[in-house]
Symmetry: C2
Subunit: 236 residues, 2 copies
């Protein structure tokens, strides 16, 4: 079915409203619907509050997309299908839907799961992605730490990865960005100690947010409760 | 020496002027000096022409930083030192200097080499980085291809890397971004064929530029002259 609506995936950057792109602002201004993925647990969407600082959302429909944080595949699949149906419904009505994502829409985001579901339901729909400043670039800026130069190699990995694999990757790359370190910091510290690389590692949380933290003495993080939006950059 | 000037490294995004961030525009507007790294060979700076589309540069000093494209370390070191001295001079005069970089200033950029040189010359100077949308996020958007989801691992590597190492990395990661493929496309094709992954690879050049190309049939690129700003994303 040919539909006149357009679906935009809009990256709104790492957290600083000023790091929205001109294009993101322009798309959000013209959008009829702002779609906001969120987990059931949180009351407010940080992404939406960032957008509201830069774009007048009065008169726009805010479409909440509830995607629970769970590993249970059936619950997830059902939630995604329902959410994709909500978006498709708006598109069929000819509406311009902008689905917002912190960082970049195709870099560890929930939005990327929704694209094939919407495209399956509406094969002829137009989907466009507005890339955003990703969290790893924001963290590297906050720490004044180049991610890569010249012929260097970068690995970006979730820290939930098992210990031996983690070591091997750190050995093989010039820069390793460990995402989602909050729950596994002690394991990461052990690995870095064993590789004698603790001095080459920097912890960054909420880069670009008012609460931004850059910590170069990783030992000071031992046993502490860490923010969900945190990573470690290892640069040899 | 305490200096009142400020050095900004400003990421201007992948090429589309609309992908400048609000913050980049604000810094460029207030800057006294726009520093523009360029190789001797090219007559015009693409980065500057992008900035000029969004920011009125009349009355601002344009400081060209000539950094030749060469592997000769002595020539490079000398050029970088001279260029850092030019920047430091402006900072000593109390000027706000914005050094512009395509993409992100700390992601495979020339600017990152200049930071320590300027900071050595002026230890108390303020250096701030404004992150930008990087080429890999722009390419992933152009190709509608998520770089990573959930617990996936990403490797970003220059394709000049030797064949066996390339294979090993492609085997070990969910997504591999091969930068600078223009001169080694035939080698990359051979590697992908041997791994039976050619169908999982997408070529993107000049993402976000008017000349943007997304090519999914990699065989069509065999023997062709390719753009300098091109990459291949392998997503398994």
């Amino acid at each position: 079915m040919k539909v006149s609506g357009i679906l935009y995936g809009v990256g709104i950057g790492p957290g600083d409203p000023e790091l929205l792109t001109l294009k993101a602002v322009a798309i959000l201004k013209k959008a009829d619907v702002i779609a906001v993925p969120k987990s059931k647990e949180e009351a407010d969407s940080r992404a939406l509050s960032i957008v509201e600082k830069m774009v007048d959302c009065k008169g726009k429909e805010i479409l909440e997309l509830i995607l629970p944080m769970t590993k249970e595949k059936e619950i997830l699949a059902k939630a995604r299908k329902e959410v994709a149906a909500l978006i498709s419904e708006k598109l069929k009505q000819g509406k311009v839907v902008a689905c917002i994502t912190l960082g970049d829409p195709l870099f560890y985001s929930t939005f990327s799961y929704l694209i094939p579901l919407v495209m399956n339901a509406l094969p002829e729909v137009t989907v466009k992605i507005i890339p955003g400043v990703s969290s790893i670039n924001a963290a590297s800026s906050a720490a004044l730490l180049p991610l890569a130069e010249a012929d260097e190699k970068i690995a970006v990995i979730p820290s939930t990865y098992e210990q031996e694999g983690l070591k091997e990757i750190i050995r093989g790359f010039d820069t390793v960005v460990l995402m989602k370190v909050n729950r596994v910091m002690d394991k990461v510290l052990t690995v870095l100690e064993e590789l004698a690389l603790k001095g080459k590692a920097t912890f960054v949380s909420r880069a670009g947010w008012p609460e931004e933290m850059v910590i170069r003495d990783l030992d000071s993080l031992k046993g502490k409760e860490l923010d969900y939006f945190s990573m470690v950059i290892v640069k040899k």
